[in-house]
């Protein structure tokens, strides 16, 4: 194999999270009382449309979480077994390989979306006659890759873009039909109806699961994604940034960072908040006082400043231990993980307080008192009787926190205590694009891309989270308090 797999810390945690989700799904399928609320979520059109979009983002993120180092071509002089395979220093992901047609086409600097010429005029030298120095000319230079296949860019550009886009849409249609056929084939045996009837019912919105909404969302998604990918092979669909990197590529890479922050932060904090919250509520007394004191104290420290202090100390640590991080990717990844941990430390208190309140209520109920009367140990009561009955709160708060954390990443990266500056994220994109608004003519495409991608991700997450909350417990008050990033709401 000409590759050397690299498992970064966050990769490992993402795999763990994936395993947990799969296990959770399997568990839910076997328990009627858990299946019922999820079934209600599945019947919400907005939530299922959001789920389609989220799945798309998730696929991008997972592809981007398979890391490896490519083997370098062997040195010409080396012989047989004596030569050792050398690996590139740069860590690549499966996504990088998949979209290498986009990633490996750096221009020199800015170029507008779908452009064939650079964004600013440059002085070019025309070839002179007979060795004489040529005439100088100020014009927009052709891009190295964007639209390079066009012979006459001025004349052919519009037709070529339109043709490629239409070809993409034409390709999206069979893909969508294939997906629909698979759906019909999968559903008709389960529901034991004729495929024709199922199709009619789905299309009139009469099915229990809102297949119509799902299929429409999928169609829209394909209609945007397929032409974009086709165009991306020949143009920079969303333009290029200051150092000539493709903005579409940057946006795709940012998705993983956002997903990691949104999910791993919760994963990291969950054991603490669940354990401490239940202990405080169930055991009461001194334990309760201590835990309450602990989380009130932590909560009192402004979150941004706590994060800043922790990230600064991490920088000191990285500077003094260069041996631990052989590649830049590993260093950036370690910082990302650390950011997740410290964000978890600052945001677990809300869930802890909710769980404490719920445990306080539950411990007075008959079934818990019965367990006490039977002499069941306290730990066992907390594990078997309290924990399963507060899981809905945990679940709701996990899905509700996600969008807030994605938004928080952007702000933290702006403040300078977010992800590593070399790591591609929405925050670093916005941060770099901020100064470009002042240029003439304006460079708007990085900012617009970050905006669209973030809005799609966060909006989908919010819609899905709302449906989950409504299905599990509409009365739980979660989501009112966002992560407190500064004194004022940012």
């Amino acid at each position: 194999m000409p590759i050397l797999p690299v498992i970064l810390w966050t990769d490992a945690l993402i795999y763990l999270l994936l395993a947990l989700v799969v296990g959770f799904v399997w568990y839910v399928r076997r328990h009627e009382h858990l299946r019922a609320p999820w079934w209600r979520v599945a019947q919400t059109p907005a939530a299922m449309s959001a789920l389609v979009v989220l799945t798309g983002f998730l696929l991008i993120g997972l592809l981007d979480s398979v890391h490896f180092r490519l083997a370098l071509p062997a040195a010409p002089g080396a012989q047989g077994a004596a030569r050792e395979r050398a690996y590139a220093v740069e860590v690549k992901s499966a996504l990088d390989l998949l979209v290498s047609s986009i990633a490996n086409k750096p221009e020199r600097t800015y170029s507008a979306p779908l452009a064939t010429h650079a964004y600013a005029k440059e002085t070019m030298e025309l070839p002179g006659e007979g060795g004489a120095p040529g005439r100088q000319l100020r014009d927009y230079p052709r891009l190295q890759y964007g639209g390079a296949h066009l012979r006459d860019a001025q004349r052919d550009w519009r037709a070529d873009v339109l043709r490629t886009a239409f070809r993409g849409m034409a390709l999206a249609l069979p893909l969508w039909l294939l997906a629909s056929l698979m759906l019909v084939a999968a559903c008709t045996p389960v529901e034991s109806v004729a495929s024709r009837d199922f199709w009619h019912a789905a299309w009139r919105g009469k099915t229990e699961v809102p297949w119509r909404a799902i299929l429409i969302t999928l169609a829209l998604l394909l209609l945007v994604a397929v032409p974009t990918l086709l165009l991306a092979a020949r143009y920079h669909v969303l333009g290029t940034d200051k150092v000539g990197l493709d903005v579409l590529y940057l946006s795709l890479k940012s998705v993983r960072t956002a997903l990691v922050i949104g999910t791993l932060t919760t994963l990291v904090m969950l054991p603490f908040s669940v354990l401490l919250g239940i202990m405080a509520g169930y055991l009461r007394g001194v334990v309760d006082d201590l835990i309450q004191y602990f989380y009130t104290t932590l909560n009192s420290i402004p979150a941004v400043l706590l994060i800043a202090a922790a990230v600064l100390s991490l920088q000191v640590y990285i500077e003094t231990h260069p041996g631990m991080f052989p590649t830049a990717a590993q260093r950036a990844d370690f910082r990302l993980l650390w950011l997740c941990i410290i964000l978890g430390v600052t945001s677990w208190t809300g869930l802890c307080r909710l769980l404490r309140g719920e445990a306080l209520k539950l411990r007075e109920l008959e079934y818990v008192q019965a367990a006490q009367a039977f002499g069941v140990s306290e730990w066992r009561i907390m594990l078997r009787h309290i924990l399963p009955n507060v899981m809905h709160i945990v679940l709701i708060s996990v899905v509700m926190d996600f969008s807030g954390l994605v938004l928080a990443e952007a702000v933290l990266s702006y403040v300078g205590v977010g992800v590593d500056p070399s790591m591609i994220s929405f925050g670093t994109m916005i941060n770099a694009a901020r100064l470009e608004m002042g240029r003439e003519p304006m460079v708007w495409w990085s900012l617009a891309s970050a905006f669209v991608f973030m809005l799609a991700l966060v909006l989908a997450a919010n819609l899905f989270a709302d449906a989950v909350r409504d299905a599990f417990d509409p009365r739980v008050r979660i989501g009112g308090r966002k992560l407190r990033l500064s004194g004022n709401e940012t």
Binding site: Y293, F294, T296, T297, L298, N299, S300, I301, P302, V304, L305, L306, A308, A309, A310, L312, S313, Q315, V316, E319, T320, S403, L407, A410, V411, Y414, V415, G416, V417, F426, I430, R434, M437, G438, L447, F451, M454, L455, V458, L459, N462, L463, D466, R475, R477, G479, G480, K482, L485, S486, G487, N488, E489, T490
Partner: protein, 325 residues
């Protein structure tokens, strides 16, 4: 009631001590002054003498908690912990790493911060409540539905985009107000108009939706049914009964934010170039000035604890049940 408040004040004091210990551990044990000095002086080519001098200039060359060489009570007071951490309780913050007096900076930068944060808070709260009231009054109609959709979309947009969009639209395209900057006195108005508007708009989405759920929760209660059964009109029920009772959780929930207004807003202050405490904090973080960051952590915590205290007090004032517990 007074016993209750006294108890809360004592509790708050203990929390403050906890915060103090955590920040001390974070800034002096996890990040030792040596590390900080090395970071400040450039990591690679730094001599031990330079570090020693840097520490001596800023008073970091003392023992952490116990000074064996000193006499009597100076064994405890002539230490880093006492001089850098305990002194904060007397609001004596010392000098920043660039030599300027932190307390003086804070007292001058406080006013621009307040000038931005207070209008954002008040106008924002008013608009959020109005919006939520409208959605709750027309609940389960199209107004409510689209209102919620609008709220969800608005809260899905990062605050950074509101700022950038506002600056582009209002300042660059329409040239209505300066893009950033600040001036004292009445001139501040034209600099503050945009940041306040952006801050208010950015907060409407999540705020209005949150207050809407509170209103709706209140609408479902028994006393509302009683009021309707008495024959009161829906308008009277809503604005006399529901509004009043819903304001209790809303206002007591908002109280906790009031003291923190002093801290200013990190992001919008630095975007709009307002010389407040928020931009001071950001500059300190970016310059890795630990003395300032430490002071801001302490002040922020004091203000938050003050907010909690005010919340407790406001509860005892509006809800008699708390008073008698």
């Amino acid at each position: 009631m007074y016993a209750y408040i006294v108890r809360r004040v004592i509790y708050a004091f203990f929390i403050l001590i906890g915060v103090n210990l955590i920040t001390f551990a974070l800034f002096f044990k996890v990040n030792t002054p040596d590390d900080i000095a090395r970071l400040q002086l450039g990591v690679k080519y730094v001599t031990p003498e330079a570090i020693a001098k840097w520490k001596a200039d800023r008073g970091y060359d003392k023992p952490l908690v116990y000074n064996e060489k000193a006499q009597g009570r100076h064994k405890f007071t002539d230490t880093i912990y006492f001089e850098k951490s305990v002194e904060m309780f007397r609001f004596n913050f010392g000098a920043a790493d660039d030599g300027r007096d932190i307390a003086h900076e804070i007292s001058t930068r406080m006013w621009p911060s307040l000038a931005l944060a207070v209008p954002v808070f008040l106008v924002g709260l008013l608009l959020q409540i109005t919006f939520a009231l409208m959605m709750a009054f027309f609940r389960a109609t199209y107004i409510d539905f689209w209102g919620v959709v609008l709220c969800v979309v608005m809260m899905s947009i990062s605050g950074l985009f509101y700022i950038i969009g506002g600056q582009y639209l209002i300042s660059k395209l329409w040239n209505l107000v300066p893009i950033s900057g600040y001036a004292a006195g009445f001139d501040a108005l034209k600099f503050l108009a945009l940041p306040v508007a952006v801050g208010v708009i950015g907060g409407i989405g999540s705020g209005a939706r949150w207050y809407r759920t509170i209103f709706l929760e209140e609408v479902g209660k028994d006393y509302v049914r009683t009021a309707r059964a008495k024959g009161l009109s829906e308008v009277v029920v809503f604005f006399r009964h529901v509004l009043r009772n819903a304001m209790i959780p809303i206002l007591t929930g908002a109280v906790v934010a009031i003291p923190l207004l002093f801290m200013g807003s990190l992001v919008s202050e630095s975007f709009f170039g307002i010389p407040g405490l928020g931009s001071y904090t950001i500059e300190a973080i970016q310059a890795q000035d630990f003395a300032v960051v430490r002071s801001m952590v302490f002040i922020g915590s004091v203000l938050y604890i003050l907010g909690l205290l005010l919340t407790d007090i406001s509860y005892t004032m509006v809800d008699p049940r708390v008073r008698f517990e």
